[in-house]
């Protein structure tokens, strides 16, 4: 796994760049090149680790499967897209652009650990590496009180959930005498489950639910996403969340899958609550940014379907398609949002007249988020629901989820209505350059390609 080393080294290079390179533009250019290089390293890794020969590293602390590396590659690709679309906005946030890029590299290190961990301790370390840079990024707009509030809130709640995670890991260790998630499978048996282990599983579930902002552990999400600089919200709501989900699935699909009778109901209720809270609350928002925060909770509800669908092959496919489709559409959506001065729905009024292309791509991103066919979002929802139906006992939850998806149309389409059917002159923060337009169209094409040929993402797994 060269990518773990590469991302760390690149992060350190960026930290030095903050001292050595004074020009912001060169910093951004350097960062873009390094992210592209990181993608290259991931692709190299992908070729070295074949589907049949997973690799164990660092005394079996990491266990690297083909599909983990594929997930990493996709997430790195999404990050590169994010950097290209948002690079200029990241520079604007504050004086320390190079450090922000360095922090993003470190977050990616956390992502890589979370997709390959084989040991509870690596899960813990991965989550911490993922979270701590985010606390800083959330508060990076130092003069903005809301940003500081977001940072503090995120930090306190994050620390609390980390405590719960550690407690859970400890209890599980007490029950199974191992940190290794593969060995745990053979020690823990469903019919004679130690109450200590059950408590541990529930604690870990709660801690991970916090990280993926599942209800009722979602309270921090709207404030943090709303308060953080938009450029970083886009990153937190997408790649970071997807990685946390991957970690969630990795644990619950392998070590705890035999014990699913014990935790299935709890997680099903969490899923239903997440869908309900996310979708219904999003309806009442007046700010698009806050709506997107609640929508990210709602989308987390759908991703939880993949966790629930244990022992089905479609679950891991589902999470990969969902992670990519959701990340790409959301990054696209935020990169449009960040160009507008007014984040309320009214700020979008009349965008179609003034910026027809921008309005069109936004429409496609929203279609994808709402799950309209021929966009990636549809295929994503389709895969996770397929997995859940396949699982057999969750038909009620599937139907409930679909009803909630119908609600989501309400708040996503409000943006479309504002753009196309209302009149106004939206104020732009920055002019939309032709390069921006090119990138947005490219993002749109990715969204459509995922919706029409989702096998592009999955064929590589079969090979």
């Amino acid at each position: 796994m060269n990518s773990i080393i590469a991302t760390t080294v690149f992060g350190i290079i960026m930290m030095f760049a903050s001292v050595l390179v004074s020009d912001k533009k060169s910093v951004a250019a350097l960062a873009t090149v390094l992210f592209a290089a990181l993608l290259g390293v991931n692709i190299y890794d992908l070729n070295t680790i074949t589907a049949n020969a997973p690799q164990a590293l660092y005394n079996n602390m990491l266990h690297i499967e083909h599909y983990s590396v594929w997930f990493n590659t996709l997430m790195t690709g999404a990050t590169l897209l994010y950097i290209l679309l948002m690079g200029r906005e990241i520079q604007k946030v504050g004086a320390h652009a190079a450090e922000y890029f360095a922090l993003i590299f470190f977050i990616l290190c956390g992502v890589y650990l979370l997709s390959t961990y084989n040991n509870m301790l690596m899960l813990f370390i991965g989550i911490e590496i993922l979270s701590i840079p985010q606390y800083i990024l959330a508060g990076s707009d130092k003069r903005n009180l809301k940003s500081s509030e977001a940072s503090l809130k995120y930090f306190l709640m994050g620390a609390f959930s980390t405590g719960i995670l550690l407690m859970g890991i400890t209890l599980l260790y007490g029950a199974s005498r191992t940190f290794n998630i593969m060995e745990m499978v053979s020690v823990l048996h469903s019919d004679s489950l130690n109450p200590l282990a059950l408590a541990g599983i529930i604690f870990i579930m709660i801690a991970l639910s916090f990280k993926v902002s599942a209800a009722p552990m979602h309270m921090w999400t709207p404030d943090v996403y709303d308060g953080s600089p938009t450029a970083f919200t886009a990153f937190m709501a997408t790649i970071v969340k997807a990685a946390a989900f991957f970690a969630f699935i990795r644990l619950f699909q392998s070590s705890f899958s035999n014990l699913s009778t014990h935790w299935m109901t709890v997680l099903a209720i969490i899923t239903a609550a997440t869908l309900l809270v996310g979708n219904v609350t999003a309806v009442f928002q007046q700010s698009v940014k806050r709506m997107l925060a609640y929508s990210s909770i709602a989308q987390a509800g759908f991703m939880l379907f993949a966790v629930l669908a244990v022992n089905t092959a479609d679950a891991s496919r589902g999470i990969i398609v969902y992670a990519v489709a959701y990340s790409v559409a959301t990054i696209g959506m935020f990169s449009v949002l960040v160009k507008l001065k007014d984040y309320t729905y009214d700020g979008f009024n009349g965008l179609a007249q003034k910026q027809p292309l921008l309005a069109f791509v936004t429409t496609l991103f929203l279609f994808s988020l709402a799950g309209i066919p021929l966009t990636g979002g549809f295929m994503a929802k389709y895969y996770v629901l397929l997995a859940a139906v396949e699982q057999g006992q969750l038909m009620w939850l599937v139907i409930f989820g679909l009803l909630m998806a119908a609600i989501s149309v309400y708040y996503y389409f409000r943006v479309i209505i504002a753009m196309y059917f209302k009149t106004g002159t939206p104020e732009m923060n920055s002019p939309v350059s032709s390069f921006d337009k090119f990138l947005l169209v490219l993002t749109c094409l990715i969204v459509l390609a995922l919706g029409i040929f989702p096998q592009l993402l999955l064929n590589i797994l079969v090979a």
């Binding site: 629901l385 139907i399 209505i417």
Partner: protein, 481 residues
């Protein structure tokens, strides 16, 4: 390969239309719909002898294929779509809309979606087209519609979207019941569905039927319909009422009756009852309307109710009648809307209390209105008669006494239909002309042509329905057994 043209022609010309200006989009749309009609005619001609099919792998891991099939029913509906779209384009040649490029582009895209729905023989593909037909219509209504268009269209969209999602859940479930890997092909879905135990079929029926019931619309899922028809610009109302409601009925015939026979058997009495309630209820409301557009909207619920009731009676004659009536209702209601839009353009109102004297001011238009109205109340020798007669015949053949009672009530609906339709004709075509009526011109050449197509179909199919009957006899027999 020819089938894919039916979807590709409107799709590509639709996309192209967005970048044209002035009269370009109009002409492009006209040419495109004529081409589509030619292809649809060819396909229907072939469907007399054998169904054309087309299949390409799409997402093999999901067991879904890009497969199209044009049997008698599909090709008939494609033909209807092509005719209706062409008539719409013809009568709109001398009218101007705001942003014509986008307007005609979206019209053509919805045509592509509709063709896809009628042709798809793969459940997932069907679902995709089902949604794709809706989205252009959503934009058309919200952008070019009446005053209250935004909330009304939004309600319509969410309503139908809920239904489609329920259907999706049902289809996913069915696809997982197919032997071996998941498969969405019609044959596999039908086999898997029919093999399911009755209790499963009963709840699957609810999931899938709700989408179709909302689309048709069946009482009590109809509340979106009158408002949407009223607020939409008339060309879009035509798409909605002549074509999109047929999607619901077509889907019942294609994706429900053969797929879940036990579920259908369990629910058919309920559906028939609701349909008949819908017939009487909407007829009564139609009688109270003064706005012609709303009147026709409610009358459409009544007509669809009769077709829906007949679909669940399992008789060959009835089924055959539905096929005929799907086509004829599409033609007749298109004629109705075309005349309504002419009235609205000339007199600036749809309120029939403020209209009158069309027969003296614009005699040709009045004649067209009378003929089409008579067809819509199913006078013998018009096309409406044949289908309705066959459907009642089908209901009458049923052994169940309940069906006979229902027949009586549905017959009442027909009488009520005559009451409000003739009342409307009387108030608009006869009586004294309102002030300012002298300015109104009679039909222009293109309007004349459009109505001539409609009326000749009304008379031709009323006198000689054999071509349509031959086209659909195979599929009707298949659906009953």
């Amino acid at each position: 390969m020819i089938l894919i043209l039916l979807i590709l022609i409107p799709f590509l010309t639709g996309i192209l239309s967005f970048s044209t200006k002035g009269d370009g989009p109009k002409m492009l749309a006209l040419v495109s719909t004529m081409l589509s009609l030619g292809v649809a005619g060819y396909v229907s001609g072939n469907a007399f002898s054998s169904a054309i099919s087309f299949s390409q792998p799409w997402i093999p891991t999901l067991g879904t294929q890009f497969s199209l099939l044009a049997d008698g029913m599909s090709s008939m509906l494609c033909l209807l779509t092509a005719i209706v779209m062409m008539v719409v384009m013809i009568v709109n040649v001398n009218k101007d809309v705001e942003k014509p490029g986008a307007f005609y582009g979206l019209m053509l895209l919805s045509q592509a979606g509709l063709m896809g729905v009628f042709l798809a023989s793969d459940a997932l593909l069907f679902y995709v087209f089902w949604e794709l037909a809706l989205i252009p219509v959503y934009f058309l209504c919200s952008k070019w519609g009446g005053e209250k268009r935004i909330p009304v269209t939004f309600k319509f969209f969410i309503y139908t979207f809920v239904g489609s999602l329920m259907m999706l859940a049902g289809l996913i479930y069915l696809s997982l019941q197919t032997p071996g890997l998941t498969s969405y092909s019609w044959a596999d879905i039908a086999r898997a569905g029919a093999a399911l135990p009755a209790d499963k079929q009963i709840w699957l029926f609810c999931l899938i039927f709700i989408a179709f019931a909302i689309k048709m619309p069946m009482f009590p899922f109809h509340t979106w319909q009158p408002d949407t028809y009223e607020q939409s610009p008339t060309p879009v109302t035509i798409i909605l009422s002549a074509l999109m409601v047929k999607m619901g009925l077509y889907a019942v015939l294609r994706w429900l009756l053969p797929v879940l026979p036990a579920g259908v058997a369990y629910w058919s009495d309920t559906v028939i009852l609701l349909s008949v309630i819908g017939i009487v209820y909407s007829s009564c409301i139609a009688m109270m309307q003064t706005d012609i557009k709303r009147l026709i909207a409610y009358s459409s619920i009544a007509h669809m109710g009769l077709m829906c009731a007949a679909a669940f009676t399992h008789s060959y004659v009835g089924m055959h009648g539905i096929m005929l009536q799907m086509f004829n209702h599409g033609i007749n209601i298109t004629g109705m809307w075309v005349i309504v839009s002419m009235i609205e353009n000339r007199w600036g109102t749809r309120d029939m209390t403020k209209l009158g004297g069309m027969a003296t001011v614009t005699p040709k238009m009045a004649i067209a209105l009378v003929v089409i109205s008579l067809a819509s109340i199913a006078l013998p020798l018009t096309n409406g008669f044949v289908g309705e007669f066959m459907m009642f015949n089908g209901l009458l053949r049923s052994d169940s006494a309940g069906h006979i009672a229902i027949l009586a009530v549905a017959g009442l609906g027909v009488i009520l239909g005559a009451v409000y339709t003739l009342n409307m004709v009387q108030k608009t075509a006869y009586g004294t002309a309102p002030s300012g009526a002298a300015v109104a011109k009679d039909l222009s050449v293109n309007e004349y042509l459009g109505l001539a197509i409609i009326i000749s179909l009304v008379i031709f199919l009323g006198v000689y329905p054999k071509p349509l009957l031959d086209l659909t006899s195979g599929i009707s027999a298949l659906l009953v057994h």
